[in-house]
């Protein structure tokens, strides 16, 4: 009798332990999902729900919505915007789709997350017919980024052309003319000179262990892609090998450092740039807003330029990042939503606002050559940078490739950002071996 009592006691202990396990994993979920909601538009308009993950984007949509309601008295719209933190919004959207409940009429989706939302039966409205009126002026690779089986499911926001950001002040101080840098060899030579002149105080650039931008850039330059065949991804490419080998060389000779924080678009990264620790780094056009927002003291010191290449004639840019807006096909006002969204993001007037408010290179290239917009002296980006950003964008207009994001991309990025880049750049591992290991990890997922 006594022993059975004891067994019961321990059973209860075990049970409690289970609850502790249960509770501790529940509590982690509680913190998410606190969004800020704003309603814009007249009460009698068609009501739409929209989720976003960047506060600034809401300002853009609000302006476009007010303009739309002014111009279309017969098609009034009221949108209820909710801004969530990045990861929370995508998680919440995944769960909404899985349960089939609470799906918003429209939602922004980050390009890296997009493949997750094209899996299985696609819940979104194909926007092909709504995009059609603007298509001739658009950078078409950006539409392809959100396509499946010939249907466009996402309305793109920007091109995200990569450029080289040079700290002109520092480079001039040490007698380096960045406009003469055309190839990576030139870049390396300039780095040597900078190291000598500054006594190793200033690094020419910083290389990333927590982001694959340098690698997608290299692929674009060689015209390769690790997802050439999306079912059979291959990361053992000449372009990647050359890039990583070159970066290892930079680290060894002390002309580059590993970016604090893993990549330059982090708080540590901003500090690195603002301290003048690095003289140059390649990043997408949208990094311009990081300068105006987080590094106002660098105004007038930073210049944009096309990125150096391995061999002359290679593409000098690559499209990075992006946000596609999807429209839920079961929504009552799906068609109106699609019409509004295509106009807001793809028309010339929309492009103008995208540039003015968000500082992005709009997908509609008509904007790029419209001097009134691009050279507007009141624009904060025009004021901030040494040269006009659009002069550079126009120069590389036809060289902005796209490395498509497909389902396996998440796994590839994970392998590189967590393991491969750390092995190669922090621990000095052999590039070929590290790439073989990464391939193994990728192959494991695509058996």
């Amino acid at each position: 009798m006594k022993s059975s009592k004891k067994v019961l006691t321990y059973f209860l202990i075990l049970l409690m332990a289970f609850f502790i396990v249960g509770c501790s994993s529940n509590s982690s979920k509680e913190e998410e999902v606190v969004g800020e909601t704003t309603t814009v538009g007249p009460e009698d308009g068609a009501k739409l729900e929209m989720w976003l993950f960047v506060d600034l984007h809401q300002q853009f949509y609000t302006e476009m919505l007010n303009k739309w309601n002014e111009e279309h008295p017969d098609k009034q719209i009221q949108i209820n915007f909710t801004v969530y933190p990045y990861a929370d919004m995508h998680t919440k959207l995944t769960l909404a789709i899985q349960s089939g409940e609470g799906i918003p009429d429209m939602s922004d989706i980050e390009i890296g997350q997009f493949p997750n939302f094209l899996d299985g039966e696609v819940p979104w409205l194909p926007v092909n017919s709504y995009v059609e009126p603007y298509k001739a002026d658009l950078v078409s690779s950006r539409l392809d980024a959100y396509a499946k089986d010939g249907n466009y499911y996402g309305v793109p926001t920007h091109v995200g052309a990569m450029v080289m950001y040079y700290n002109k002040e520092i480079l001039e101080q040490y007698g380096i003319d960045y406009t003469q840098i055309k190839t990576w060899d030139d870049f390396t030579a300039a780095g040597e000179k900078l190291k000598e002149a500054s006594n190793g105080e200033v690094f020419m650039t910083s290389v990333d262990t927590g982001g694959a931008d340098w690698l997608t850039l290299a692929m674009s330059q060689y015209g390769e892609s690790w997802v050439e065949d999306p079912e059979n991804a291959n990361v053992q490419l000449k372009s990647i090998e050359n890039m990583l080998t070159m970066q290892q060389g930079w680290l060894e000779s002390g002309i580059a450092e590993v970016t604090p924080g893993g990549q330059i678009d982090t708080e540590e990264g901003y500090a690195t740039v603002a301290n003048g620790e690095v003289a140059a780094f390649p990043k997408a056009s949208w990094y311009m807003s990081r300068f105006t927002d987080y590094m106002p003291e660098m105004s007038g010191k930073i210049a944009l330029a096309p990125i150096p290449v391995f061999e002359e004639g290679q593409a000098r840019s690559n499209g990075v990042g992006g946000t596609g807006t999807v429209i839920y096909k079961e929504s009552e006002n799906a068609e109106l939503a699609a019409e509004f969204m295509a106009w807001a993001k793809l028309s010339e007037e929309g492009g103008e606002k995208i540039w003015d408010i968000l500082g992005f290179d709009p997908v509609n290239t008509k904007v790029w050559s419209n001097d009134v917009i691009t050279h507007n002296p009141d624009n904060k980006f025009v004021q901030y940078f040494v040269n006009n950003p659009f002069d550079v964008f126009l120069e590389i207009q036809d060289e902005v490739n796209l490395i498509k994001t497909v389902p396996i991309t998440t796994t590839i990025n994970e392998a590189f950002n967590l393991t491969t880049l750390n092995e190669v750049l922090e621990n000095g591992a052999d590039v070929k071996e590290a790439l073989a290991a990464a391939q193994e990890e990728v192959d494991f997922e695509q058996e």
């Binding site: 022993s3 004891k6 396990v21 501790s24 982690s28 939302f117 299985g120 262990t209 967590l418 494991f444």
Partner: protein, 299 residues
């Protein structure tokens, strides 16, 4: 009416009615999710579809090196927390119980305080403390002693140290309270009679305190095993997300989250969850068995 009354006043039914709320909540929040997790672990689940794929998820787990890393991290973390968080709090409780310590309540409050701080807040603080930049607190301490700054959160050992320090700081007070409660339930008469027999302090501790604390020790160890195996948020906050260099901070629950939520593969994540359950159960069973829990009581 009479029927209802006879049930309400029935001696046989009463106990079941009393435990009914517990049974209902248990079946809704525990049995039901558990059964559906088992079913889901044999499925391939995507947006708007699910199909049975037999043991494929489990076969994949066997060859999944990232998962193996996660299991290794979780198990080692659990073992280390137990090595630290059993003896130290016991010692603390012993000291707090001693006659020679003044301001006991103040000490107690101070060591208990961290448990009240949210993991999110403390995790972010630790993230900054262990920053790889020279301005990070831990690097400042190193520099003070003339040691070069280190990249705390990029290497396995130092990363684990950060996680363990956070756990120790947070749970020290809670475990101390458990042991304190255990200590105060030990009859003082035992100590007095030992003193009469000429036992010294160490002998009293070794022969009276330690054996009589066994139930508390077993309880604390068991919840530490589950707490350690279920650890996720601490790592998530310290590494500023669910990804750490070379997966040094990845735990089983972190991997479950990555697969189920971040990669939208709930079937595979369910398999991960079940393996977690089995591993946690196995470790605690072995522990309970080895500590004589399932033996028949000595006559």
């Amino acid at each position: 009416m009479k029927g209802v009354q006879s049930i309400l006043f029935s001696q046989k039914a009463a106990p079941y009615i009393f435990i009914l709320p517990f049974i209902i909540s248990l079946s809704f929040f525990w049995v039901y999710p558990m059964i559906s997790t088992i079913i889901m672990s044999f499925q391939d689940i995507g947006t708007g579809y699910s199909e049975f794929i037999g043991l494929a998820n489990y076969e994949k787990l066997l060859g999944d090196s990232v998962f193996h890393t996660a299991v290794k991290n979780s198990v080692l973390y659990t073992i280390f927390t137990i090595i630290i968080l059993i003896p130290l709090p016991m010692l603390c409780a012993f000291l707090l119980n001693s006659k020679n310590v003044v301001a006991k309540r103040t000490y107690k409050s101070i060591i208990y305080l961290p448990a009240l701080v949210s993991v999110v807040v403390s995790g972010i603080l630790f993230r900054y403390m262990f920053s790889e930049m020279d301005s990070g607190l831990m690097n400042q301490i190193l520099n003070f002693f003339g040691i070069d700054s280190t990249q705390w959160l990029k290497n396995w050992g130092t990363g684990m140290f950060a996680l363990l320090l956070l756990a120790t700081w947070r749970w020290m007070g809670v475990n101390t309270l458990y042991f304190e409660a255990g200590l105060s339930s030990i009859d003082k008469v035992l100590y007095e009679s030992a003193e009469v027999d000429g036992a010294n302090a160490w002998q009293k501790f070794w022969h009276i305190t330690l054996p009589l604390l066994k139930p508390t020790r077993i309880y604390v160890t068991t919840i530490s095993i589950y707490g350690g195996m279920a650890m996720f948020l601490e790592s998530y906050m310290i590494y500023g997300g669910n990804s750490s260099p070379k997966n040094i901070g990845l735990t089983i629950v972190g991997y479950l989250y990555r697969r189920g939520i971040e990669k939208n593969d709930l079937g595979y994540a369910s398999a991960v969850g079940l393996v977690l359950l089995i591993v946690a159960l196995a470790i605690s069973m072995v522990y309970l068995w080895s500590s004589g829990m399932f033996k028949k009581e000595d006559k």
